[in-house]
């Protein structure tokens, strides 16, 4: 009898719980994805010369990742 009541109570709680948790999780996930996009867009001069060599007069085309050489200071 007690078990049945407990199950019923849990069942009643499940719907509002899910409603509260899932939208929150979705929102958090969306915020994280947005933050990743913003941070990845920051040019920190660390494009490891992926791709072909840029023309000599266009330094912005690719910055060799010099930091990877040695300790930075």
């Amino acid at each position: 009898m007690k078990r049945t009541r407990a199950r019923a109570a849990l069942g009643a709680l499940a719907v509002p719980l899910l409603a509260a948790v899932v939208p929150g999780a979705v929102l958090r996930c969306r915020r994280t994805v947005q933050a990743v996009r913003i941070l990845r867009a920051v040019d920190t001069g660390s494009v490891v010369n992926a791709g072909p060599a840029p023309a000599p007069t266009t330094p912005d085309a690719g910055t060799p990742d010099a930091e990877t050489t040695t300790r930075a200071r």
Binding site: R31, T32, Q34, A35, V36, I38, L39, R40, V42, D43, T44, G45, S46, V47, V48, N49, A50, G51, P52, A53, P54, A55, P56, T57, T58, P59, D60, A61, G62, T63, P64, D65, A66, E67, T68, T69, T70, R71, A72, R73
Partner: protein, 514 residues
């Protein structure tokens, strides 16, 4: 004096970490998280930070993005894309507080000798004639480039004005309206010249050999970006993806092999930046174009150096300094110039454990063991030196430094745990493993640009002793894989009292090794 471990007493081991910079703090946190509470950080400075405590010169700033120049387990809401010295020092202090390590630090303590006591199976750490403490395990985190190198110039003591090394900045010297000489052309000098040009009357830089320079793109983070930095998960994702992108170009050491597409692209980008910046000044273009492949010397990352050398009050002397006079400097061509202040941005001694004498098994000193050719298994362990670990040791320079340090901390923590499982014993790399590893690394370094130029990468015999030839992913893999049979654990007495004499110890040793 702190007493060390008690043989057979079942106490937690005392672990001494020498140095409270990025390496030392990272190792201490890792050890603490693994459950070792008796970790003591010994630091010669009066506060934490290591390099970032000492280097307070104008414009001091990292040239790796802030997100990478920090611990993966401690993201931070940085104010700039490339963090400056003061913020970085505050960050390291915050790490100490976050992991409750402040009371485990002893500042103002200079350790100059570490001696293995075979009977007690622990190290004695000494400062001069005094024993500071005893510890079962010692982690050296004194850094590679921490000991300033003052040039041995004739007449240096005769100069009448202030002379100081960039890492020992004289804040009491007002540079306003002064004629300042900066000796050197590396990362520090290229940060100094732009920082000084608005303050000093005249800045003259003496450059023996130019460096390849690439733009940094340093700037403050916007409010929007700082809000994004609040997401620790996002920071971790971006950090991981950035490391992966960097590693792709470095796979197989491609970036550092002269003539490879990656190396050529890097050199062309640096040359393009140079030509675009100084194209209208053929004299500067000539003086600042390196004659060696990209990577032959440590490349410099700077946004404002080329702009600074174009300023009216900045002069570049493309020669070495020959001597110092009472009033100035004489360059290699014999021209004398007068100055009010001399700043030596001449770098650091690139010697491993340069401030430490380490004596291991059989009374062998580590520098004598190396005989000028520094080498260590994964840069961390040296045969004959049980329970002794080096952070940022031989052939670990490169990749993403803080990540490498985290990997070293993880490796040494695993080794300590294993020794402790063996009853507070000794853990040491096997001789054949260290030799095989060193041979493989040296083979990988053959044909790299590191072999060219006048750089700090090479040891006395000419072998490359500082550089890691590949990316961080390979190093990560090796620090995880090269553990089991490559290390020898000799069990201690704790918890193995019934093992029974030499035979028992041998049996126990094979159990632990297997």
């Amino acid at each position: 004096m702190i007493r060390g471990t008690l043989a057979g007493g079942g106490e937690e081991p005392v672990i001494a970490v020498i140095g409270a910079g990025f390496a030392g703090i990272g190792a201490a946190v890792r050890l603490r998280r693994a459950g070792f509470r008796r970790v003591t950080l010994l630091e010669r400075a009066e506060g934490p930070g290591g390099t970032w405590w000492h280097n307070t010169y104008e414009g001091a700033e990292v040239d790796t993005p802030s997100m990478l120049y920090s611990y993966s387990w401690m993201p931070w809401n940085w104010t700039r894309t490339h963090v400056r010295q003061a913020e970085l020092r505050d960050y390291l202090a915050a790490v100490l507080d976050a992991f409750d390590l402040r009371d485990r630090c002893r500042f103002g303590v200079t350790v100059d000798r570490v001696e293995w006591d075979a009977g007690a199976r622990e190290y004695s750490l000494r400062s001069g004639r005094d024993e500071i403490m005893r510890a079962r395990y010692v982690v050296s985190a004194v850094g590679l480039l921490s000991d300033p190198r003052m040039p041995d110039l004739p007449g240096l003591n005769t100069f009448e004005g202030p002379v100081f090394h960039s890492s020992q900045w004289r804040h009491d010297v007002d540079l306003s309206g002064k004629r300042v000489a900066v000796v050197g052309s590396g990362s520090t000098a290229t940060q100094l010249v732009p920082a000084l040009r608005d303050k000093a009357k005249q800045v003259t830089m003496f450059s023996r050999e130019p460096n390849w320079i690439v733009p940094k793109r340093a700037r403050p983070y916007t409010d929007k970006e700082r809000r994004a930095l609040d997401s620790r998960v996002a920071q971790r994702i971006v950090r991981a993806s950035t490391i992966y992108r960097r590693d792709k170009a470095q796979f197989g050491g491609a970036l550092w092999r002269s003539g490879s597409p990656q190396n050529t692209a890097a050199e062309n980008a640096a040359r393009g930046y140079l030509e675009a910046s100084l194209g209208e000044r053929p004299d500067l273009l000539e003086a600042l174009t390196p004659r060696y492949p990209y990577g032959g010397k440590r490349p410099v990352i700077s946004d404002d150096f080329y702009t600074a050398v174009l300023a009216d009050n900045v002069q570049l002397v493309p020669h070495a300094v020959r001597e110092v006079t009472e009033h100035g400097l004489v360059d290699a061509t014999g021209v004398e110039r007068e100055f009010d202040v001399l700043i030596m941005a001449t770098g650091f001694k690139a010697d491993f454990l340069s401030t430490l004498q380490v004596t291991g098994r059989d009374g062998q000193e580590i520098h004598r063991h190396w005989n000028g050719d520094e080498r260590a298994f994964l840069g961390v362990m040296v045969p004959g030196f049980p329970n002794f670990f080096i952070m940022y040791g031989p052939n670990t320079n490169g990749g993403t430094i803080v990540t490498n340090l985290e990997l070293q901390a993880s490796f040494l923590t695993a080794a300590v745990k294993r020794a402790e499982r063996g009853g507070a014993g000794e853990v040491e790399v096997r001789g054949w493993a260290a030799e095989a590893y060193d041979r493989a690394v040296q083979r990988m370094l053959q044909g790299t640009a590191f072999q060219y130029g006048n750089n700090y990468y090479r040891s006395g015999s000419g072998r490359i002793s500082t550089q890691w030839p590949d990316g961080v992913l390979l190093y990560a893999l090796l620090t995880k894989l090269l553990r089991g049979p490559f290390l020898r654990v000799t069990p201690g007495t704790r918890g193995r009292a019934g093992a029974g004499g030499a035979e028992g110890r041998e049996r126990a040793a094979s159990e632990v090794s297997s």
